[in-house]
Amino acid sequence: MDTVAGLFLNDYVMQIVTMICINIIIVSGLNLITGVTGMLSLGHSAFMSIGAYASALLMMKAGFPFWLSIAGATFFAGAAGALLGLPILRLRGDYLAIATLGFCEIVRVIFLNLPAAGKALGINSIPYATSAPVAVILAVLGLLFMRNLERSKFGLALRSIREDEIAAEMMGINVARYKVLAFTIGSAFAGLGGALYAHQITFISPNDFGFMKSIELLCMLVLGGMGSLIGVVAGTVTLTAIPEILRFASEYRMVTYGTVLIFMMVFRPQGLFGNIRVNV
């Protein structure tokens, strides 16, 4: 009996670890867009869904192997980010947030009506391939990539755009191009995470990736602290694990979740590890 329980627990814990790693990849992408470059995005889950659907379809319909499918998904999500980025990145602050929110809904409705994507039923029996080691390795590689990016000259330029767009432009930084690049890379990360998600859960439907999912991702970033990769990890671990730990009190867990966020905003608005306030 003990060993059975132990195995079950082990498996369950592994599943949560995998979920945390996937979320780390996705939130580190959002961190590049919102935390580092200062563009408030409420549409991050849209890119996650593009990655999830792309990878599932590439593997199931086109017969691609797992690695090629998630690479393709990353590419598609990045391309979608670039396509969306080009027209809307002239917008700032609230306006950008509303535009990304609109995009998020558009993508959801497209998948809801796309026969190839299974409409409202979504896609099920997606081959399982995202094991815990795969997720951990990709999350670590993703974090290393982001760390190097932030410390590079390119990262410095992105941070300067967050601080003061006009001054950055005056220093000779091509603000529009860098913003699109940051948005593209961040979206590609969301796509990769979405693909891994599809191959972990093995079932996806349009409503998994709605506006609320975007908000959840943003909460992870805000809780950990924008612009800080340690914050990304801390926020993601906390908000992915809390709902699981509080599963015994399932009716109240969203209440607790909300309370934690309210306290955070009052006592530590820059997040656990960040030094940037939310007013992007």
Binding site: S160, A167, M170, M171, G172
Partner: protein
């Protein structure tokens, strides 16, 4: 080296510049003085491409830069020190300086120029690792100027460098402006502190509601009755 030929710029339907023609010669300090809202800042922003003119043209060292992207303009040796000390508050002093040299590829020379600009403003070298936003107002203005100098400009556009500073800092900043100029950088200076600006400049323009209404040697403007009454408070 810089020439504006009847430049018009508008925000929406309102014309901020109504045919501005000015020029800056090699090695000169030229100032534009005028009241709030005269279009002084817009003139600078139009030159550096932050806002675009609707007609007229801007030439820099013989090249037409009217519709050139800002990064190309900076690359060709023209940089602006923005109004109101727009430094990057959450980046360190050092990072701020490096951003000024963003388009330069010569790393060794950039390192040398960090030393040069901190020589001009010794206060900054004491605060290298501090965040820009934690500096005092005067130090931030120094940083903004030092950051612009990091691009090795041939022409420096300065927007109200004395704004909100104590008299000691104003003196300090203006003596550095003279020093930069001696080293061969031309300066186009926009100021409300007309007295100070005219005392360092060789020529001056007086601007009113989007038009240049007077142009003369700085010393003549300082003596001019109407300028004295309107802008020098004498």
């Amino acid at each position: 080296m810089l020439k504006l030929d009847s430049v018009c710029t508008r925000y929406g339907n309102i014309y901020a510049l109504k045919g501005v023609s000015i020029h800056v010669n090699e090695g000169e300090i030229v100032t534009i003085i005028g009241a709030n809202g005269a279009g002084k800042s817009t003139t600078l922003n139009t030159i550096s491409g932050i806002v675009r003119s609707v007609s007229g043209s801007v030439f820099f060292n013989g090249a037409d830069i009217t519709s050139m992207p800002t990064e190309k303009i900076v690359e060709s040796g023209l940089i602006q020190v923005p109004e109101g000390r727009e430094i990057f508050p959450l980046l360190t002093v050092y990072e701020n300086l490096i951003l000024g040299a963003y388009l330069r590829k010569d790393k060794a020379a950039v390192a040398k120029d960090v030393e040069y600009v901190t020589g001009l403003f010794p206060r900054l070298s004491e605060r290298f690792k501090q965040l820009g936003g934690t500096l005092s107002g005067g130090e931030q203005q120094m940083l903004a100027i030092a950051r612009a100098l990091m691009s090795k400009p041939k022409l420096l556009l300065m927007d109200e460098p004395s704004l909100g500073l104590s008299p000691i800092y104003v003196q300090n900043i203006f003596s550095v402006i003279k020093e930069i100029n001696k080293e061969g950088t031309a300066v186009l200076l926009v100021e409300q502190n007309a007295n100070m600006a005219l005392s360092v400049a060789s020529r001056g323009y007086v601007m009113e509601t989007g038009k240049i209404i007077m142009e003369d040697k700085a010393s003549n403007l300082l003596d001019n009755e109407s300028v004295r009454a309107a802008y020098l408070g004498i």
